[in-house]
Amino acid sequence: MARIELQSLSHSYGSAPGTSAAYAVKPMTMVWEDGGAYALLGPSGCGKTTLLNIISGLVTPTKGKVLFDGVDVTALPTERRNIAQVFQFPVIYDTMTVAQNLAFPLGNRGVPAERIEARVRTVAAMLGLTGELRRVARGLTADMKQKVSLGRGLVREDVCAVLFDEPLTVIDPHLKWQLRGELRRVHRESRTTMVYVTHDQTEALTFADKVVVMYDGEVVQIGTPQELFERPAHTFVGHFIGSPGMNVLPASVERNVARIGGVAVPLARVYPNLAGRGRIEIGVRPEFLQVRSGGEGLPAVIKRVEDAGRHKIVRAEFNGVALAALVDEDDSVPETDVRFVADPDRVHVYADGVLVGG
């Protein structure tokens, strides 16, 4: 278990460092507390996997330091960093049995046989692999193999951190529900520092205490799932987290009223004069947009209604901008004189994409 510190860390793969575009990871400083569950969330190419590999030592950063519990490990190779990692696609030792696979990281480190046996049993029980322990790993299905990979990541108790690189990609939706829950439980029980890289918001938000949202090599926001959902610090976060993402509408803001195409939208707070602060937009999540018939609100035109099961997604357009709102499965969508009404408490103001405090 360890506290992980990244000190003015940056990395570029290209031969021309210095230009900001060449960075896979732009300069950043960050502290991950001992025993925390963190997620690195972002689209592909945002640098999240590079960052993970820097922590595990598979990649040496161009600049900056990595500290485990205050000790500089930047120059240490992976095998001396005492970490465990689970990869996107199952990495298993084909010719070993499941039990041998799980025991491998322990055996290599000279853990006594009884201890190995006990740990293998515990981890196997946790992942539902007890019945498969004697099987040769080659014959397993893809999701079983990935469970074995997960097991190898979790089998050592003394690791500084367990790193996950999109570990549930090959897992079927139903099993995902189960495994996500297991991972969270393992974290709670072991209190090992865990870092989880993914592009899937549900996985990131449900796994982590703190989610680090990355975009183009930069960290755009660090926060709890609730913070990221309720107060996205950047329009990118609003868009990337939430399904559908946050509605972002160009507007003008005057004190506590925003105007979109001549329609007033009340705000919960009074904003200072934003003239000269760049592009002004307001953001409101589809969850906080009500669709009513008549009265106040944005007279957007409904384009189509998607049935997502437990709710309907109403896709509309106002002033040339697309809007989405959620309506409960049991409620009907009004057809005449439609108005989209935002909860003032949930409307945020952004200047050049960055959240403006009220």
């Binding site: 595990s56 598979l58 190779p77 992976t78 095998e79 970490i83 465990a84 990692q85 990869f87 996107q88 696609f89 990495v91 030792y93 084909d94 010719t95 070993m96 491998f104 990281p105 290599n108 480190r109 080659r138 014959g139 397993l140 299905t141 893809a142 990979s149 190898r152």
Partner: protein, 298 residues
């Protein structure tokens, strides 16, 4: 669902059947024909039934003794060169650079021996190993080692084995190299994280993934070395004595040297059957390991 049946398809196969018959079946039948007859020259043949076969497969007879001795040498030769070439080839493949400009250079150097024709290989080594003017032979003798492949049993064997290893280790190395390159990087990363030693990486990742190419490599090398003729013929001529006389060399001796067509024909049929049987064993092993692999596939 019934598939349409048309006998006209047979017509289309006919040319192939004719060609195969002309260049494989007819010559083979000639050999079969010889193998059941005896001749005392003058193009006169007498029916001998399975007489040659009986003699051939009975080690106490002159012919049988000769055959089994040669067969034993063949097996020994194949096993020795496999025991050297397979580990050596794997080792070479493991040491080869994985990327950079050195890759192309290594590949060319390794491929060179494979491009040299058999009789040229034989000639090269015949000269290279001569104790009077050959670099290898001269050096060994000046180091105080009594080395003369035309006179010594061990010298002769040493020469043909080293020659074969020089000629063919590259094949195993190249096959293994291709196999190693196809292992995803994540496996090595996982092994580092699991704290695996270099030896465990080899034992648990590389070797299992090489399994298939190795099987093909062993098959190719076994069959090829089992049928070896040119190189020992050029270098040692089967000597000293009969010490490097392989079945193929003996066959030629009997057929063309002594003109015992019947004996030689029987011998080549049996030799052929042994090779076919070995091929079949390899094929079965390969396909069965294939299907056990498929069952596990998602």
């Amino acid at each position: 669902m019934e598939k349409p049946v048309s006998n006209r398809a047979w017509l289309l196969v006919l040319p192939v059947v004719a060609i195969v018959a002309f260049n494989a079946i007819i010559p083979l039948m000639t050999v079969v024909n010889y193998s059941v007859q005896d001749t005392f020259g003058n193009n006169q043949f007498f029916w001998n039934g399975v007489g040659w076969y009986k003699e051939l497969l009975d080690p106490s007879t002159d012919l049988g003794g000769r055959f089994f001795a040669a067969l034993g040498r063949n097996v020994a030769f194949s096993l020795i060169i496999l025991a050297i070439e397979v580990p050596l080839g794997i080792l070479v493949a493991l040491c080869m650079p994985k990327q950079g400009p050195a890759v192309a250079a290594t590949l060319v150097v390794l491929a060179l021996p494979l491009l040299v024709p058999w009789n040229v290989v034989g000639t090269i080594w015949q000269i290279f190993a001569r104790s009077d003017i050959g670099l290898l032979g001269w050096t060994l003798n000046h180091l105080g080692i009594d080395y003369n492949y035309t006179a010594g049993f061990f010298s002769a064997w040493f020469t043909i084995i080293v020659m074969d290893v020089w000629h063919w280790t590259s094949l195993i190395a190249l096959l293994c190299y291709a196999g190693l390159k196809s292992i995803p990087e994540a496996f090595y990363q996982a092994a580092r994280i699991d704290g695996a030693s270099r030896m465990s990486v080899f034992r648990w990742i590389e070797l299992p993934k090489l399994n298939r190419v190795l099987l093909i490599g062993v098959l190719l090398r076994f069959m090829d070395s089992f049928m070896i003729y040119t190189e020992p013929f050029v270098v040692t001529g089967g000597g000293p004595g009969n010490s490097t006389t392989m079945v193929s060399i003996d066959l030629v001796k009997i057929a063309l040297g002594q003109f015992d067509l019947g004996k030689a024909a029987a011998m080549s049929i049996v030799y052929n059957l042994i090779i076919l049987a070995t091929c079949w064993v390899f094929y079965t092993v390969m396909t069965s390991s294939d299907s056990s692999r498929k069952e596990g596939a998602p």
